[in-house]
């Protein structure tokens, strides 16, 4: 064996090249994470089937007309569930990173020259992809089974795009910050699932926002999900549905402002609270 496994004073290695760029390592992390994600078959099946099952159940139970709009309650659910699919990042990252912290992934990575930002780029891209697939499936089912009309105007798709991207980023960052709350990977799904389910009930996913008490709406207004659902309703229900909103309008300006604030606030929260080590590790 003439190959040296490590540099020594006797056999110096050639002058090292520059370190690989953060973006390149981040893309490599995204590919690696995505491949690992799709290998956990049971998790994949449940991640993608959960919103579909909910949509089919809710869409079938509540099929009545919404008075004076020409819209159907089931269409309301499609918009709401697309909102909660875009928030999957909260759950996936909250639980996934708690797992990475517990099983030694984070500690191992911290011992390598991988730039920390590359880890988050990998998580973000992976989450965008998973959320996009979920939303695409929900859209297809909404169109096929629940008379959902995909928007035709390019401006609606533009709205869809920014609500989706800001919503996924904001809720992912919230998920990354929340991953520090569970004491271990075992408790993570319980700790993370609770706020997610509660948010879905108070943000207009399962129950139309017009039927919620005012104080509940006030609480929901603090979190991104309510605004994501509102943005998606503007895309899929159109002007006819605006009368159902509390403000009699979709308030897109406010949606953008609040989702943008969550992206920035979430980033700050992550930067100040993120731990590479588990609590057990001190």
């Amino acid at each position: 064996m003439s190959e040296t496994l490590a540099p020594s004073s006797a056999a110096p290695v050639p002058a090292p090249a520059g370190p690989p760029s953060t973006i390149r390592v981040g893309l490599s992390r995204a590919a690696f994470e995505t491949r690992m994600f799709f290998r956990e078959k049971d998790a994949v099946i449940f991640t993608f089937s959960f919103p579909i099952v909910l949509l089919v159940i809710f869409g079938s139970i509540f099929a009545q007309e919404l008075e004076g709009t020409g819209l159907n309650v089931s269409q309301l659910y499609v918009a709401g569930l697309i909102g909660s699919a875009a928030m999957t990042g909260f759950q996936n990252l909250g639980i996934g990173i708690a797992g990475d912290r517990d099983d030694g992934t984070l500690k191992r990575l911290a011992g390598t020259p991988m730039p920390p930002a590359a880890y988050f780029i990998g998580k973000a891209l992976n989450t965008l992809l998973v959320s996009a697939v979920q939303v695409a499936i929900l859209l297809a089912i909404g169109v096929a089974l629940f008379e959902l009309e995909p928007p035709s105007a390019p401006s609606d798709w533009l709205t869809f795009a920014w609500v989706f991207v800001l919503g996924v980023l904001g809720s992912s960052l919230l998920g990354i910050a929340a991953s520090g709350l569970p004491r271990s990977a075992k408790s993570a799904s319980a700790v993370i699932a609770m706020p997610f389910v509660v948010l879905q009930f108070i943000s207009g996913v399962f129950i139309p926002i017009s039927q919620l008490p005012e104080w509940v709406i006030r609480v929901a207004s603090f979190f991104p999900l309510k605004w994501m659902c509102q943005g998606f309703r503007s895309v899929f229900l159109g002007d006819g549905g605006a009368t159902l909103e509390l403000a009699k309008s979709y308030e897109l300006g406010r949606v953008a402002l609040i989702l943008g604030a969550w992206v920035i606030g979430g980033l700050l929260l992550c930067l100040t609270t993120f731990r590479w080590k588990s609590r057990r590790d001190g």
């Binding site: 496994l5 090249a17 290998r39 011992g111």
Partner: protein, 275 residues
């Protein structure tokens, strides 16, 4: 390169009321295999984690490859390999995917397939990490530790839970790395492991180094009284050769069941840590 690989002066670390490390000095030369021994809670892991850049220190000077590990940089991380004690991560990736992925973190990584071959996993390269035995997993850990051509490799209790044969094979792997000039800092609970691998050992107890030296001479081992045993008797003596000659005359040739022994490293170690 004449600078020491690891230089520590007056290292101290306290957790609440507990003084985990209370003033440690260390010098580890480039190319050396250095073992740190000590009971659980003696400050061994804390010391190594400070050297690895995982933990901050309260006091003292520390230099690892000329850099203060309290402020780890990316360039420094590229020169140091870390093999941690326990890891159950990346179970769904294959060995080859994992090693290739980690190679992408380093400016001048080795060829992943060659590293897989060196750690003896070529036949398992396409298997998922989940499907490997404990010993094979540790080999993956070592492969990830050396993929970036580190000048210094930390191994934290690398063979805990191994069967004796797997341990021997693992030792050969580490000896191979040492022969190629990698400086290795090893913590272990196994005295035979330290004896087989290390050029020098330090024993840490109560947050301090209580002995340091070559395994063969640690704690005055080489010059301690030898014990001569034979069928029907034993004698502790400073002059075992003379005793054996006398016995040989007495038995007229072959001495039945003859052994001559100095204190084992384990005996010396247990005395040092006050066990």
């Amino acid at each position: 390169m004449t600078t020491t690989a690891v230089k520590v002066r007056g290292l101290a670390k306290r957790y609440g009321d507990v003084q985990a490390v209370g003033g440690i000095d260390l010098d580890i030369e480039p190319g050396e295999v250095f073992a740190i021994l000590g009971p659980n809670g003696a400050g061994k892991s804390t010391t190594v984690e400070i050297l690895e850049g995982y933990r901050r220190r309260d006091a003292g000077e520390v230099s690892v490859l000329g850099v203060d590990p309290g402020r780890p940089t990316r360039a420094w991380r590229s020169r140091v390999g870390v093999v941690l004690q326990t890891a159950n991560d990346m179970t769904e990736a294959t060995v080859r995917e994992t090693v290739r992925h980690f190679a992408g973190y380093y400016p001048n990584a080795e060829d992943p397939d060659e590293v897989i071959e060196k750690v003896g996993l070529t036949e398992k390269a396409g298997k998922r990490v989940r499907e490997l035995s404990g010993g094979q997993r540790r080999r993956v850990d070592v492969a990830l530790g050396v993929i970036g051509r580190p000048e210094l490799l930390f191994l934290d209790e690398p063979t805990t839970g191994f069967d004796p044969e797997a341990r021997r094979r693992f030792w050969e792997l580490i000896q191979g790395l040492a022969h190629r000039g990698t400086t290795i800092v090893l913590t272990t609970h196994y005295l035979d492991e330290a004896e087989a691998l290390a050029d020098r050992v330090a024993v840490i107890a109560g947050g301090r180094i209580v002995a340091e030296g070559e395994p063969a001479t640690l704690g005055g081992r080489a010059t301690a009284k030898a014990t001569v045993r034979w069928a029907g008797g034993s004698l502790e003596t400073d002059t075992p050769t003379r005793t054996v000659r006398e016995l040989s005359e007495r038995f007229d040739g072959e001495i039945p069941e003859l052994t001559v022994s100095r204190p084992s490293l384990e005996e010396v170690y247990l005395r040092l840590i006050g066990g």
